[in-house]
Symmetry: D2
Subunit: 140 residues, 4 copies
Amino acid sequence: MKKVKTSIKVRYQETDQMGVVYHANYLVWFEIGRTAFIESLGFNYHDMEKDGVVSPVVDAHMYFKQPIRYGQDAYVETWIEEYDGLRTTYGYQIMDEEGNVAVAGSTKHVIVKKDNFRPVSLRKKFPDWHEAYTNAVGDK
Amino acid sequence: MKKVKTSIKVRYQETDQMGVVYHANYLVWFEIGRTAFIESLGFNYHDMEKDGVVSPVVDAHMYFKQPIRYGQDAYVETWIEEYDGLRTTYGYQIMDEEGNVAVAGSTKHVIVKKDNFRPVSLRKKFPDWHEAYTNAVGDK
Amino acid sequence: MKKVKTSIKVRYQETDQMGVVYHANYLVWFEIGRTAFIESLGFNYHDMEKDGVVSPVVDAHMYFKQPIRYGQDAYVETWIEEYDGLRTTYGYQIMDEEGNVAVAGSTKHVIVKKDNFRPVSLRKKFPDWHEAYTNAVGDK
Amino acid sequence: MKKVKTSIKVRYQETDQMGVVYHANYLVWFEIGRTAFIESLGFNYHDMEKDGVVSPVVDAHMYFKQPIRYGQDAYVETWIEEYDGLRTTYGYQIMDEEGNVAVAGSTKHVIVKKDNFRPVSLRKKFPDWHEAYTNAVGDK
């Protein structure tokens, strides 16, 4: 299974007064991992939007194991957990510099028309993505 | 079961170029709902932190049904789904002005010492909260 | 001069590990004040965008006097400092519960077409706003 | 004068429904530039905080020339504009991939004790920083 590892530099703005990264920011880091994963396949989300298509999140699950702090090096590892031609579920692990898992999670996405949020089939609309995604998930 | 409804005014800053509220912000709205819920029981999180205790999130689950847009009125409804003296799971529903559910979800929390993130028992450390939480969840 | 006072409830997400509200968030609070000011005149920014017009910031100035902390009540007071038919400069003061000024500042705005960011004259495009703004600033 | 150039990858989360980076985020990018500048001198802000000292912003000025959009490559260039042993004013330019200036600005900082926000002299408390800063600003 294809996995892509992306390095994250903690921003001071991302901390809260608990002295750790505020939990909602890990969802932004998931997005950074997802973007890098897509780019590693030779696509980019920006081009998809130019075609009038956006990719909202259907659900998100996050498991917080240990906090990440400012000054630590962090990484997000991203892969495709499931893909059926319509829905893509990405899996993520956020790790500290020693490889300890800080946060694990997943997000499920569809693609829809930007102007009316009506569902679009990734398989039909973007056959190249479909093929690459099928390979990425099947590649176990 | 005690439920608390809190009104949210969408901030322009919370939108993204998809023209809707960016998904991670709903986790911040959950926090707003949680804060209001706690205050409705006569407590506040700020006082807890003064005692050297913080309340990190253990896991979070979010289900996105339909987007909220800038200019809409939104509400978050909050309740306690589960409570066992150590862990509290809050449930949330974010609704638009017509009562349609936009986002549903939950977050599970523990309390820990601020300086070392060691677990603390809510039941033992804050018996008043324990009693109020037991009542709030049992109050079905 | 017309001034509008808006109450702000500090979000935990807005704090940083310094234990105070992260400075960039005050710019978001300025936006909240600006929105409330516009609504107090009977308009709303959302309707302006429906006409294909957006209102980017040209410059921003912020003076930080003392921090706001989680658990404090905060207020933002907003007025129009200057208006010439094209450019509007809003003035802001963020205050704590005792009326001490925490942050002072201003932002200057124009309006432009959403699709190409070409400048539009507020006076010509929205004569009602023009009249209300002229009155709001002249009303010294 | 020493200048440090740092590359920024626009996050989808940083856009707003105007289709551009939301203006307050540039203040976060200034922070990224400032952090990189400090590290280029062999120091880091994280170590300063370990000594019980934090460095709040005194004032901030931002001039928005043209928007940055998702999918563009951006850079922030950072230098020291003024330094007097107590106050440091950093200058910034945010540029797009073609070197056009998108945002220019500055932020002035002091250092204070974390527990009571009382001012501390950078010159006395951190003589190594003082020397490096004096050289960095004088190095014209």
